[in-house]
Symmetry: C2
Subunit: 227 residues, 2 copies
DNA sequence: TCGATCACTGACCAATCGGTTAGCCTCCGT
DNA sequence: ACGGAGGCTAACCGATTGGTCAGTGATCGA
């Protein structure tokens, strides 16, 4: 119900990224598999379930994909590039450093929710990271995610707008980590009455940016020097 | 290899928490199930695998636990109380507000690594949160986690040491979120050469606390050339 | 128009799944 | 010494799993 808040920012634009090389039959299967794998995980989902969801026979699934695992890898590959494309499109606006970070954080979070299935798939892989090939995919996606934001931060560090005694990568970790954590737990957090921001990603993002930029320490109080 | 860094802080103390009411046979099965479920998830693990790991027959597993799902719930219940106990024991030391937050963050992170299997189980549940009963368990554990740290933060807010225009729950979210994210991705982050802190939780925690307290913005006005 | 290729299907397969049953063995109170 | 209870097992069950195979029908270049 309250999920409507998290829905698409831009409804649907005709994407040119859909590969025409893949038959529509295979596309249906991929889409069904993506949804189910994202919801339930690899081993909870049977080929039968995927076939049913795609409206085809089980044998047809194996006609397009050699094994269940290769289907999963194809889904993951799709998800990975989809996410990478989204990251590449991220812009941080052109306001002040503070505004740009805030803008970036909000856009990043919106991406996670817009592509919830993709995010879930990657999150799932992140959690075990034992498989060789899939690990590389997730690793690359996360790396792009990192590099994208690290570059922005470094720019501001060089300009002297951000502190230089903190690793840019550390700042990126905090931002991405918090956003992913919020994505993955907002439904649970939702059930804690105290957390106003659980239902309101805008509010969450605003406060996160505030903390990130200015810290939680009260600077007005005459603070005895730390350490 | 580098995992040794994350190992137990205090090797092993004779815990009184082990329930003597449960037979050792059932305990073995529980332990095996906990390990396997944490590593691979619910549906990837067969009762056969658990029985083999525990060194008993499959039928014996069903002798102690009615169904696979009830075994899983027992494992989750165990994990939940174990984590709750750990949270209850958390102290934030008795230094300055900054020191206490840093201390708490470090201890919290250490807990996650010390009880890695438990953490993984809870993280897994957090990710789907569809099951009724298990959802409640995870929700409670996370709630305790939150309340524990929120109280500390509120204390400092009332004392005027922390800003009061930020929700305490939001600060707690950042801290817990970052720690969980670090726990769950440090092995992936590890493969990014730039991230020095990926292998060094102490360093990570220090920087996180620094950001959390003081923010990343460069405030030129303040001199107090410390750090 | 032919024949080859293609997407697609129902029927089938061995293996494994969660779960049951009958019975063995050991311990323990009487 | 005995008998019941409980920990434990091998053998078994129907259902489902990932995967195969032979065949059907439509499409399309020659």
């Amino acid at each position: 119900m309250s999920d409507i808040i998290f829905s698409q920012s831009s409804p649907d634009k005709p994407k040119a990224t859909t590969k025409p090389s893949i038959s529509s039959g295979a596309q249906n299967i991929l889409a069904a598999a993506e949804e189910l794998f994202a919801q339930q995980g690899y081993s909870s989902i049977s080929i039968n379930a995927i076939a049913k969801q795609a409206g085809v026979s089980k044998a047809n699934v194996f006609h397009h994909f050699e094994t269940k695992e290769m289907l999963y890898m194809a889904v993951l590959q799709n998800a990975s590039t989809e996410m990478s494309d989204l990251i590449a499109e991220l812009d941080s606006g052109n306001g002040s450093a503070s505004q740009q970070i805030g803008h970036y954080a909000r856009q990043h979070l919106q991406n996670l929710f817009d592509k919830a299935r993709v995010t879930q798939l990657i999150l799932r892989e992140l959690q075990q990271g034992d498989k060789d090939e899939s690990f590389q995919l997730v690793r690359n996606t996360l790396n792009k995610n990192f590099t994208s934001i690290v570059n922005i931060i470094k720019k501001f560090q060089e300009r002297g707008e951000f502190r230089q005694d903190i690793e840019a990568a550390m700042i990126a970790t905090v931002l991405i980590g918090c956003n992913l954590f919020y994505f993955q737990t907002h439904s649970v957090l939702d059930s804690f009455p105290e957390l106003a921001f659980a239902k309101d990603p805008d509010n969450y993002c605003k406060q996160l940016t505030d903390i990130l930029l200015r810290g939680i320490e009260n600077k007005n109080a005459e603070d005895r020097g730390s350490s």
